[in-house]
Assembly symmetry: C2
Homo-oligomer: 412 residues x 2
């Protein structure tokens, strides 16, 4: 049994957690590509055909053999015979022979024999069936070649990628109307505490309504997970053990928010530890808010224990739950954190040896932003609702200074 | 009828568009708060009760009258009579009189008479019904007061705010289990082009499959809109007029991607202009890719005409369609763009007088990121799928330099 609050740094905590997570192979399902935005590919997707499927023009103009307009200029145009007009959406019924040109529009299929396109603005049709061209073109100029975007059988989307609008469009362009994606991971969300009641009930004196279950479920949904919620657990070992065992059996991962007192937080660690191997990996992180966080792996499934305070819960959820859901979703991409750069409005003191996350409000300041720290207590959730994002004060720093440019991590 | 491509700057284009958009009042609906993440409040939400509903302890320890521990120290502890233990989830059945203390846990309800809490670590229970306390506390210390987070009737979420996990949790804490949100805006998406065929059909020579409809629908969905798609429109005035009129009637806004040739793009502008007032506001933006973009308002509804090229379509959708959907969703919040800071790997030339958006791939480099430009042609969608984000080269700049720190706007 790990002891209470052997603090480890946030980075060590994340690494230890990651090391113990088993290679997770989510189940997959075949779904319509048109509905797949945000879903994660279960396997590499290959092109069944080259794209474009034919060489085509990127401009409006004349399809030619480049050799026929070699050296053409305003003073010395090339005179070419018109072989016809390329129909949009069809193959030209003619080929371009030496000395010939054809009217072609952007996206039109290059006729056989042609190897480049002269733009419309460098042309003049003065006589029937003839065009004057005033500019030379290189072979391939103003043309997209067959297979230039994608070769046949090329991997167009790797496995483990979250599909964005660009991939959705690309797959549809290739006629890939269905795509195999990972099933969305199920995350069991448990709240405990003798003082906690469901939100649809009146809160009697001494009682508080459950908010963590719902803020966490919303966050899990945002990350592409399916939250499964459970009845509130009373602060007794047996009740919590049964609830955690059930949630572990029914889900790919579990998130537990502890009752608010220190003793019930210990209870959470004890219960998780008893569920299986390797058990609790981290109990206590040198971070504020969120020090009493528990990171565990039980029989191959990640379990995160969060402090009961709603603000700590959400801050730690941003830092540890979001990446866990992405992991369970099978995301294998690089991972970055979008931020907004802003000027800090006041000095913020911090304790060295502890990573501080300071909720801030973003305020427009000319073309940029100012970041104004929001006063908060961990137990007051609307303090956090007033924040647009949060700013990190590093483990070894003793504070941030007014006027300093900081990176604001948005609370989405 | 506006002339073709009177280029305006991206900023002027956005401002002109915004000025002509009417005050939009979306319809609203009452939905469960638990399902409201990402939705936009239709009205200000007020607290029906104060939060917390009672003063409570933020630590494990002893509820006291601060006056009774005045000057207490290790050498000179205060000896207080134990009046009882505060039950979790209930009101204490006793009050604290002068000279008394009560055991209290984090989140426990402060007994009447008590005005502060001494932390457990500064205490010792040596005799039955008595506790020694070694530290003084100020009135209100380690206590969250009734109404400290939210006063009764206070606005807790303003109208026009997109609900995040923090707001969802906060509303549930107040027992607000249903919330009035704006209906999701419907966006009609039209693609035109004689060469364009649906993705589930084989593409014959000269034909290309429709990808813009699906990449745009995905993007609209990401922004909280409901995309409505329509059959592909042939490049004829009557067909396009009928399709645009229908889409305008059935939706809150319309997005049209033109056929690829310059003449069909003109057709789009002409058709939009004929639909109503004020009509086409911008036709041509000094931006690359995406120059032939059309911004219009027709009888109070926004219409955006996008170039047919899939890359231009998506870049302009990031810059103009996303904000339009947010506008129609009734979002009234401040608006920032999350970015990742990265070091540019190579020089990027640009033409002054044109805003360039350069797709880049993000590459891990130690603790930071490098941004590597992705070679692209506007017509090749998988070029864009290789990009993680894009970098702006300002209107008046002639390029960006290798080694320069740039802000990468992510392609989500």
């Amino acid at each position: 049994m790990p002891e209470f609050l052997k603090l480890v740094s946030p980075q060590s905590a994340a690494e230890r957690f990651k090391q113990h997570l088993p290679v997770f192979q989510p189940q997959s399902e075949l779904i319509p590509t048109a509905e797949a935005v945000g879903r994660v590919t279960a396997e590499a997707v290959r092109a069944g055909e080259p794209s474009p499927a034919f060489s085509r023009s990127t401009v409006d103009g004349y399809a030619v053999r480049a050799a026929d307009v070699y050296g053409a200029s305003d003073g010395l145009p090339a005179y070419l015979e018109l072989a016809g007009e390329v129909p949009m959406g069809g193959a030209p019924a003619f080929a371009i022979k030496a000395g010939q040109a054809a009217v072609i529009y952007t996206g039109g299929m290059l006729p056989e024999g042609a190897d480049a396109v002269v733009m419309l603005e460098y042309s003049q049709e003065t006589r029937a069936n003839e065009v004057e061209l005033f500019r030379p073109v290189a072979v391939g100029e103003n043309v997209v070649k067959r297979g230039e975007d994608v070769a046949e059988n090329q991997v167009v989307v790797p496995a483990g990628q979250r599909l964005r609008p660009a991939e959705i469009g690309g797959l549809m362009a290739l006629g890939i109307t269905h795509v195999r994606v990972n099933r969305q991971p199920r995350l069991g969300i448990l709240s405990s505490g003798d003082e906690v009641v469901p939100p649809d009930q009146p809160a009697l004196p001494g009682q508080v309504r459950d908010c963590n279950t719902y803020s966490l479920a919303a966050l899990v949904r945002q990350e592409g997970g399916l939250p499964a919620t459970y009845p509130i657990i009373p602060d007794r070992v047996e009740a919590m053990s049964a609830a955690v065992a059930r949630a572990l059996a029914e889900n790919d991962g579990v998130i537990i928010t502890a009752g608010s007192s220190a003793s019930t937080r210990d209870l959470t660690a004890e219960v998780i530890q008893a569920q299986g191997q390797p058990g609790v990996l981290v109990h206590g992180i040198s971070i504020k808010p969120g020090k009493p966080t528990i990171l565990a792996v039980v029989n191959g499934k990640p379990v995160i224990g969060l402090p009961g305070n709603p603000v700590s819960t959400l801050v730690i959820a941003e830092l540890f739950v979001r990446p866990m859901v992405a992991y369970l979703a099978g995301v294998k991409q690089k991972n970055w954190t979008p931020e907004v750069s802003a000027e800090l409005t006041v000095n913020v003191p911090s304790q060295a040896g502890r990573e501080d996350w300071i909720p801030v409000r973003l305020i427009e300041a000319g073309s940029g932003w100012k970041a104004e720290p929001v006063f908060f207590k961990s137990s007051l959730i609307f303090n956090l609702a007033q924040a647009d994002g949060m700013v990190k004060c590093d483990l070894d720093a003793t504070g941030l200074e007014a006027g300093q440019q900081v990176s604001v991590r948005l609370l989405n």
